[in-house]
Symmetry: C2
Subunit: 147 residues, 2 copies
């Protein structure tokens, strides 16, 4: 065992890595709700709290709180007893999230993950895929398609 304090071969940026992973996690829920609201509006013309909750697998009060956070962040608007709508910024976010989700699923499938599993895992994975990695995924998929 090396108890020598000199022998420190941990990457110096390791704390930042974890901090960044935590930051990504903080965005994750907002992203999920924004995308869900966007989906619901597209499919049913409006996003009701009840529908959001049931699709997210949470109770209505939880959905209400999440929507409150979205509103606080300027991503959504709503009036009491009415549906929830996205601001331009929120709609933008939802669109980016949706595109990223597709890319992640496609990449997983491309490397041999069963589609059903790819869908499952992408739900958690997508929030931690950086811009750089996303670009790399797109390039890989393009190359594979052109093969």
């Amino acid at each position: 065992m090396t108890k020598d304090p000199e022998d420190n071969d941990a990457p110096p940026n390791q704390p930042e890595r974890f901090q960044q992973a935590r930051a990504a996690q903080a965005m994750a829920i907002l992203e999920d709700y924004a995308e869900m609201i966007s989906d619901l509006i597209e499919e049913m013309g409006e996003a009701r709290i009840t529908d959001i909750a049931s699709r997210m697998g949470v109770t209505h009060p939880t959905a209400t709180k999440a929507v409150a956070r979205l509103k606080r962040e300027g991503l959504a608007v709503s009036r009491p007893y009415r549906g929830v709508f996205l601001t331009d910024e929120g709609a933008d976010l939802a669109e980016r999230v949706r595109a990223r989700h597709r890319t992640v699923v496609d990449l997983l499938v491309a490397v041999g993950v069963p589609p059903e599993t790819a869908e499952m895992d992408a739900e958690g994975l997508e929030h931690h895929v950086s811009e750089t990695t996303l670009k790399a995924f797109e390039r890989y998929l393009d190359a594979a398609a052109a093969k």
Copy 2:
């Protein structure tokens, strides 16, 4: 806009997908701490609260609480003012996490992600990679190596 309640083309398992992503998240921090403790023991012969905290990028009280959770889950043991050690179960977990981390980084690099970015993203991604997906990654890497 389709307000027809019949038109419900959401996958019925969508709530489960989100619930599973949330469950994975709950394990994530335990996994990170277990792996970190394992790293420190290997590198320095013991894992001290101070070192754990500084590498995780948190304050010591936060690290202490995390260790308390690990102990509660039967993954670690420690006595006051002594280092932290992993139980067999904890060591097992750490080893699995470490292996998975390597596989994820390797796969990212294999599809064209810059190594530094791969390290970064893997920190968040790894916790959401299912067994099935991990196996697929391994097969892909084997195939690429044998090419």
